[in-house]
Symmetry: C2
Subunit: 443 residues, 2 copies
């Protein structure tokens, strides 16, 4: 660890310290990421791929980028899945107790009039697949909780998430007629957390997330015996529709054909407002560009914002961008993503071969909470750009609160602290600047 | 920086890893600090020194420590100031616009019927002192904001707080009749933030904090000209009353006369519920002891919880404890404090001469967010124990949100994330355990 004095000295000696300090002062005074996120979440709200809100969000980013003086603002088209929730989804336990549910993204709906069936509780995909006759005609209830003893909530998510993604496929193998899945969260409230599910080759049965309190109630009822649930889901998968990534940039003054991409994903689920996931990442990248433009900073390499479309249920925007990058004349020098919430930064993931050399930049990033670089850096949207040689970087904010709101109706602007969000924007702006001006030091 | 693999290896090889891992698993499952903080804030609430609530809080800690099987649970008496807010405090701008105010702790009240006076706005103590005739008979309004460009909010607080503590004394020198002070916060809401003020030798004039929106409204009215405020404060300073610190411990198995103290302060302001300030610190220390007891861990040195009284407006509990320590037969090996809110840990301050050697413990603390040790460790309550040779340690959680709630009605349990709070408890429990078992390695 560097002592404060050494860190301060290293900061001041660095030729990029002035630019970073200027961005810090302006950013923390104006809190532009929060202003933009407030506008995106309040004027547009949740924005599932293919929805009118997602289309509005595309136009909103275009307008904002133009207003801040970004160059080459454009939409990069892609076709996206078009899943719609419909109205009136609901579930009732034993005809009287309402359960807090919401359809999983990609699920088929129930037959008109709903499904009325007995319940069987399982803890794993394997258990569901092996139910055999005991699963036939039943609603299978996946109730394996997050492991709360893991310090990193993403690890707990990773240990439970297979139930949401693959639960319906596994249960269908035993003849189940629907699945309910305990929400992917450590929160104690009853908000159901949606998220993508996928079907295998077998029958497609409806799948919904269940709030934690509802899950506990249902589990207790099953233990008592005779639990039946009526489930109504009116969601459906419609044909793909056109949508787009949005791009805007500052052209590099010395190496315009070497590009540093930074961004987040513009689509979100419809349950909440997509504030932390991932309005935060999009507006942080936009704020980074806004600060550079407003301060008239001229990067040597091109710095480009990308608001990726359709991260949640298809990754079509990331694929379209990666396809473009493969044949582009420009070189993708680096690609940075923020898709872990607008919380206080703690670290950057970075391509492992750059880890040691990047550490020289830490004194310039510590003001924004960046304590270290860790191996990694490839996330859902920037990851594919590793194939064209881009240095991958991912912002790692603190994650304790992330899954309290993730994909739930609680993912709203009031859960975002304006300064914490801006610190992420400043960390991204600073790292993008360093990659542009001093990126050769990583070679 | 340590790589993950190296860190994991170092963790597993350490003879104290088992105890720390057991505490982590139990703590993150049961979230005991949050349960206790919920009880303290909901059943007792705000607890100003000398108040019935503070007396109840003392008995509550005694009972909790006894219930968890702490040894030598006791009250350590101290006399404390007895300031009471009274009812009906209010302020009105130009007879019609209510201002959001609250008396500063220690302030005298206004004469019956209140004070009705013109306003003069200043930015500093010096400016107030030099008002001369322009201050005579006026209410002086201190309106220098936090510097938002500083990354550390405690630095911004340090740069503004003199107005709250010394504003009344400075303004009285120019013949002012009262002061209003812009709240010490970066939040944009209108909750006024109280806190201690002190009088010098001159006349004692009433002092109140003003919410940020009210401060902006008042400043605009002053610029327009003719701003008058009617201020009514019914607070008063009564004679000192008896109160107490609360202590409880696990006696050391090998070095019972070497004591590791850990704690926070039990008193709070009355505006909110004293959740982050500092119910968090008290319940984190209690949780650390609870985990050790419940897991039947037997420390070599004595580990003692101290819930200090009267940190906010007198520090009498800290003085009483330090007096005791001076003549005690036992040696105070270390003293740890948590008084920066129940947010996610980032670092420990530690006595500078122990800084380098303590770093060997980092692999055991990183799960709880502790990325580094920094020079420091002496805070308001544990600081005086430096004089008897104790190693000083202070938990440093992330501070971006701290002053949003500090001393305001918004300092309530809903602003505390259960896991973030517990991470602080676990960091403290682990460091206390390491000081007990491996403290000789710091020599």
């Amino acid at each position: 660890m560097l002592s404060l004095l050494v860190a301060t000295a290293l900061f001041q000696q660095n030729p990029n310290a002035d630019a970073i300090l200027a961005m810090r002062k302006k950013g923390l005074t104006e809190l532009g990421a929060y202003s933009m996120l407030d506008e995106l979440t309040s004027k547009i709200g949740g924005r599932v791929s293919g929805s009118p809100e997602a289309a509005k969000a595309v136009l909103w980013v275009v307008k904002k980028l133009e207003q801040m003086g970004a160059e080459n603002v454009q939409q990069m088209p892609c076709m996206v899945p078009h899943w719609v929730r419909g109205k009136g989804e609901r579930a009732t336990l034993n005809t009287v107790h309402p359960l807090s549910i919401t359809a999983l993204g990609g699920s088929v709906g129930t037959p008109k009039g709903g499904i009325d069936a007995e319940l069987v509780e399982v803890q794993s995909l394997k258990e569901a697949e092996e139910l055999g006759e005991r699963g036939k005609g039943k609603i299978v209830f996946f109730n394996r909780p997050f492991d709360p003893t893991l310090p990193q909530t993403f690890a707990a998510y990773g240990g439970a998430n297979d139930q949401r993604v693959g639960g319906a496929t596994a249960a269908a193998k035993s003849g189940a007629v629907a699945v309910l899945v305990r929400s992917m969260t450590l929160a104690k409230d009853d908000a159901p957390h949606t998220g993508a599910m996928r079907y295998g080759d077998g029958p497609k049965i409806p799948a919904a997330a269940l709030g934690i309190q509802s899950a506990e109630m249902l589990s207790a009822a099953i233990k008592k015996g005779g639990a039946k649930v009526k489930l109504v889901l009116n969601c459906q998968n419609l044909p793909d529709v056109p949508s787009a990534n949005v791009l805007g940039e500052i052209k590099g003054s010395e190496k315009p054909d070497e590009v540093i991409v930074m961004g987040g994903h513009l689509d979100s689920w419809d349950t909440g407002k997509g504030a932390h996931d991932d309005g935060a990442g999009v507006t942080q990248a936009m704020e980074a560009l806004r600060l550079m433009r407003a301060l008239n900073l001229k990067p040597k390499r091109t710095i480009r914002v990308v608001a990726w479309m359709n991260e949640e249920n298809g990754g079509r925007g990331a694929k379209a961008y990666a396809e473009y990058a493969k044949t582009a004349k420009e070189k993708h020098f680096a690609a940075m993503e923020s898709d872990s919430g607008g919380f206080m930064p703690r670290a950057f993931g970075i391509s492992e071969d750059k880890l040691e050399k990047a550490k020289a930049w830490l004194p310039l990033l510590q003001d924004f909470g960046i304590e270290k670089f860790v191996a990694g850096g490839g996330d859902a949207d920037n990851g594919p750009l590793g194939a064209v040689g881009a240095i991958l970087c991912a912002l790692q904010p603190d994650n304790q609160r992330y899954f309290d709101y993730h994909h739930a109706r609680t993912d709203t602007i009031d859960k975002v602290n304006p300064r914490e969000l801006e610190m992420g924007a400043l960390a991204m702006a600073s790292l993008a600047w360093l990659l542009s001006e001093d990126g050769d030091s990583l070679k």
